[in-house]
């Protein structure tokens, strides 16, 4: 009874008077489209599985561990974080991340602007200069700053010899040294997305603004800056989130007094073998990062962040 029904429907549809005749191969085209979609979906399966296995599953496990102790369910790992030794670390982590991100914006925006305006060959050279540090080991760069900025480092020796200062500046082993080192490492991550979105801004827009009577400053402020915003937001988020999880630079340049959240995680794993506590720290950082992303998304619009329209 049910089997022949569609066939007869189809026959009826075809024969319906007045309806435009369906293309002869519409049915086959649709089938091909379905097959193609299935194939494409199939091709993403390995990637999806990989993400599920390597990202989602561990995060789930992390979450679960953070509520467990040998006795069962517990909030202990989270309650512990209310102690000043942890709250102060969280404060430092965010302060440092905000400061480094802000400095990166101030330094990175003009650099990206100059590269975007430069002639192709000059732009290539400038881009190389931005990228070159990225290809150098992080550790080497940190030690280089140590050599430059420590009490008897190059800078202090030079300034003292010139007679510009009497006592060496304290540029290392503190918050200042950590900030300098981190800005250096993070700057390319700000310049690259900024440059990308600035390159996409046609110079015609600026000409149009000028021809309509805008001063160069007004054209820059009202046309160029808003158009470069996606790159700025992307760069800001990349830099800020990377800063939140930073470990090596603060450990080497902070003189032991700049304590980051990641160091607390490391300590809980390595010294105390306390995976529950370390997981709770990880969950807190993850939730806060997601919270910030959500907030930025609410203010600026999520599509802007990912660069889609």
């Amino acid at each position: 009874m049910s089997a022949p029904a569609p066939a007869s429907n189809r026959a009826a549809g075809r024969a319906a008077p007045g309806a435009p005749p369906a293309p002869v191969n519409a049915e086959r085209l649709r089938a091909q489209e379905r097959a193609e979609n299935a194939l494409l979906a199939g091709l993403t399966v390995p990637g999806m599985l990989l993400i599920a296995a390597l990202v989602l599953a561990p995060i789930g496990w992390l979450f679960w561990l953070s509520f467990r102790n040998p006795a069962g369910f517990t909030f202990d790992h989270y309650l512990r974080l209310l102690h000043p030794s942890y709250t102060l670390t969280l404060q430092t982590t965010f302060e440092l991340s905000f400061l480094v991100t802000a400095i990166c914006i101030l330094l990175g925006y003009p650099v990206a602007y100059i590269i975007a305006q430069a002639r192709p060959r000059m732009a290539a050279v400038l881009m190389m200069l931005v990228l070159f540090p990225v290809w150098t080991s992080l550790l080497v760069r940190c030690y280089a700053w140590l050599v430059l900025l420590q009490r008897r480092g190059l800078l202090n020796t030079w300034l003292t010899d010139m007679g510009l200062i009497d006592t060496p500046l304290r540029l290392m082993h503190n918050f200042t040294g950590t900030t300098i080192g981190m800005v250096h490492i993070m700057l390319p991550f700000m310049v690259l997305p900024l440059y990308g979105s600035m390159r996409a801004i046609s110079s015609d827009y600026m000409l149009a603004a000028s021809s309509l009577g805008a001063s160069p400053a007004a054209a820059f402020r009202q046309v160029f800056v808003p158009l470069s915003l996606p790159g700025l937001v992307a760069g800001t988020i990349i830099v800020f989130v990377l800063c939140l999880g930073f470990y090596v630079t603060p450990a080497l340049l902070g003189g032991g007094r700049v304590m980051m959240w990641s160091m607390q995680i490391e300590r809980n794993v390595n010294y105390y073998s306390d995976w529950g506590a370390a997981s709770a720290l990880g969950v807190v950082l993850l939730v806060m990062t997601l919270g910030i992303m959500w907030l930025v998304g609410r203010i600026i619009g999520f599509n802007r962040i990912v660069g889609a329209r």
Partner: protein, 351 residues
């Protein structure tokens, strides 16, 4: 199909049957983990060779980076290590956690000559080192700091300091600087210690994380005075002079600490491991470590054996001459208080 299965089963049976006697006939292996590097090489030359010869075993070496490795070994239920080197504090902590095999009477009979606070029924110190003061001689114009009060005295010894980034050692040093006699430290007066630490805090440029860092900041002249492990300071002294110039070291009011031997719970060759400890802890064998590296033996009788040349004695923190200048740290106190102290110390540093 069934025939194939039967064949496979027979093959497995043969392999198992044939394999077992061969394994017994083979020389036994003893797996020992340690810190690697120059220290483990010295252990091998001083001790492992003798153990292999006397017990007729092969020693397989592995590395450990600390207590987390040991916990993982025991937690696995099937540890691969028979013996491990760990810091004395870790040893005491692992004992408290019930992760160690107890020593038998024969072993305890050998280890009894080790000072009582450097051993227990579950572990025994193998080497002793100390936390001492190292300084740039140029910085103080020939004046010699003679203890922790001098370390705190920024009037007579002006300049930058470096301390380890842990409460361990620092609380003891602060109390001694504040006038508490070395033999009346424990239990530590924590409030008094932290109050005293506040005084020196503005002068501490670097809170060091690793032994290498403590040496580097002194050698570069980044700081003028450090509290660091004696071996690290002595190593700079033996190197060509750096930016910092000549380096001094003193054992005055030194804190004696140690690394120990322990057997993880469930170790595959516990009996052999115990025998190995008995050999390595004999005074004349224990003393040999100082021939290969600047560390001191832990067995009190080692210095009576004459194994260590006279010219080496001045540089060893627990030689009969130097041992009187300092005190042995109480790992028991730290095992029960470290977690709380670390929290408080972290907050102290970040404020």
């Amino acid at each position: 199909m069934r025939k194939v299965m039967a064949g496979v089963a027979a093959l497995i049976g043969m392999a198992v049957g044939a394999g077992a006697p061969v394994a017994y006939a083979q020389q036994k292996t003893l797996t020992i983990s340690s810190w690697g590097g120059a220290f483990q090489k010295a252990q091998k030359e001083a001790w492992f060779g003798l153990v292999e010869k006397e017990l007729g075993v092969t020693i397989k070496e592995d590395n450990t980076s600390g207590i987390a490795d040991m916990r993982a070994q025991v937690a696995s239920g099937k540890p691969t290590w028979d013996l491990s080197t760990q810091g004395a504090y870790s040893c005491a902590l692992l004992e408290k956690e019930g992760k160690l095999e107890k020593f038998d009477a024969a072993t305890l009979a050998v280890t009894k000559d080790v000072p009582s606070n450097l051993r227990s029924d579950y572990w025994v110190s193998q080497i002793v080192y100390s936390v001492a003061i190292g300084w740039r001689e140029k910085a103080f114009g020939g004046k010699k700091p003679t203890g922790w009060a001098a370390f705190w005295d920024t009037k007579n010894f002006p300049g930058q300091r470096s301390l380890r980034r842990t409460p361990i050692y620092n609380l003891e040093m602060a109390l001694i600087a504040d006038g508490v006699p070395m033999d009346k430290l424990y239990p530590l007066d924590v409030d008094r210690a932290f109050k005293k630490l506040e005084q020196v805090k503005p002068h501490v440029l670097v809170w060091w994380n690793s032994g290498a860092q403590s040496a580097q900041v002194l050698k570069d002249g980044e700081v003028d005075m450090v509290s660091a492990w004696n071996g690290r300071i002595q190593a700079i002294q033996s190197e060509p002079e750096g930016k910092a110039g000549k380096i001094g070291v003193t054992f005055d009011e030194q804190i004696l600490v140690s690394d120990c031997w322990l057997i993880p719970k469930g170790a595959p060759n516990k009996e052999l491991a115990l025998k190995a400890i008995q050999i390595m802890m004999r005074p004349e064998v224990n003393a040999r470590i100082s021939l290969f590296i600047n560390y001191a033996p832990s067995n009190g009788k080692s210095y009576d054996t004459g194994v260590i040349p006279k010219e080496k004695l001045a540089g060893l923190p627990n030689s009969p001459e130097n041992v009187k200048k300092g005190f042995i740290q109480s790992v028991d106190w730290w095992v029960n208080n470290n977690d709380e102290m670390v929290k408080r110390f972290d907050a102290f540093l970040q404020k």
